[in-house]
Amino acid sequence: MNVFLEMGGYAAYVWPSYGLTLGIIILNVVWARRLLARSRAEARRRLATRGEPR
């Protein structure tokens, strides 16, 4: 296990790289979902205040 974590001595380069990239992936997923949720909520609000569509 230790060998794995140490990455042959390159741990300080490999793990931050993976951490950053995975962080960016997670950031993108969360951000995209939040945008959609917000747009949906706003659309619902707009429809509610307008009443039935003509």
């Binding site: 380069y13 490999v14 990239t21 993108n28 619902r44």
Partner: protein
């Protein structure tokens, strides 16, 4: 072959519904591929005889770099489609690409820098590929900046579309920079036709990561696109059913 499928895609309610259906497939397949690729790259692949375990950065760096280029190309193509055919959905796609592309360009630059520190002895070098990739990041930022400068969405769409198309010239420059110039950066070793120079145990996780990242981009794009469509369509009648499901 009729063009109806093209025009159906361009219709916001159809695009929205299709995106909603496809997203889970792309998302879960992407997740599976990325997890498998990570395992293959970190655990199963043997260390490189020259670089040891440092080469494993390739499993996040190369897909990120691929993303930065692919996303910009998608942005430019959909921007052009939006300009030529005046398709709102195409503009929504282009708008959705920017933040995704910028973040992966950033990831590519930083992971590349970390990799380069050991390989070349320096965190940064002004060689063509790195320099133009950095310029690509600025282009993404310029695109997003231009968009936000307009209050009118239509104008923002069309102005930023012109910018995206003009700037797409950087993408082939980045790709071919390692062939055209004496670059410190490695020449392409994965995408050569014929025998790839990487052994299978190293190559297969890499291909999985490429595919996984691509599907991830599609999933993210579809989610963002739906948000963009909702914002643009305001209170069109089809929205009622779409958002109250």
């Amino acid at each position: 072959m009729t063009w109806t499928w093209f025009h159906r895609l361009g219709s916001p309610p159809h695009a929205y519904a299709l995106a909603a259906r496809l997203t889970p497939w792309f998302a879960w397949t992407a997740a599976a591929l990325i997890v498998a690729g990570l395992y293959g790259g970190l655990v199963l692949a043997p260390p490189d005889y020259q670089q040891g375990d440092d080469f494993r950065i390739i499993y996040v760096h190369a897909p990120s770099a691929w993303m930065s280029l692919m996303v910009y190309t998608t942005m430019a193509v959909s921007a052009a489609v939006g300009l030529i055919w005046r398709m709102k959905v195409a503009h929504a796609v282009a708008a959705s690409c920017a933040a995704i592309g910028a973040s992966f360009t950033f990831a590519a630059l930083v992971t590349g820098s970390l990799w380069g520190e050991r390989m070349w002895g320096t965190y940064w070098v002004w060689d063509p590929r790195l320099t133009f990739e950095l310029i690509l990041l600025f282009q993404y930022m310029g695109y997003m900046g231009l968009r936000s400068a307009f209050d009118d969405v239509q104008r923002a769409d069309r102005a930023s579309a012109v910018l995206a198309v003009v700037g797409v010239v950087n993408v082939p420059i980045i790709h071919y920079s390692v062939i055209w110039w004496n670059s410190l950066h490695q020449a392409p070793s994965v995408m050569q036709l014929g025998r790839p120079t990487m052994p299978a145990a190293m190559l297969i996780p890499l291909l999985m990561m490429f595919l996984g990242f691509t599907l991830l981009f599609l999933a993210l794009l579809l989610v963002r696109m739906r948000a963009e469509i909702l914002d643009r369509e305001r209170t069109a009648t089809w929205i009622r059913e779409a958002v109250t499901s």
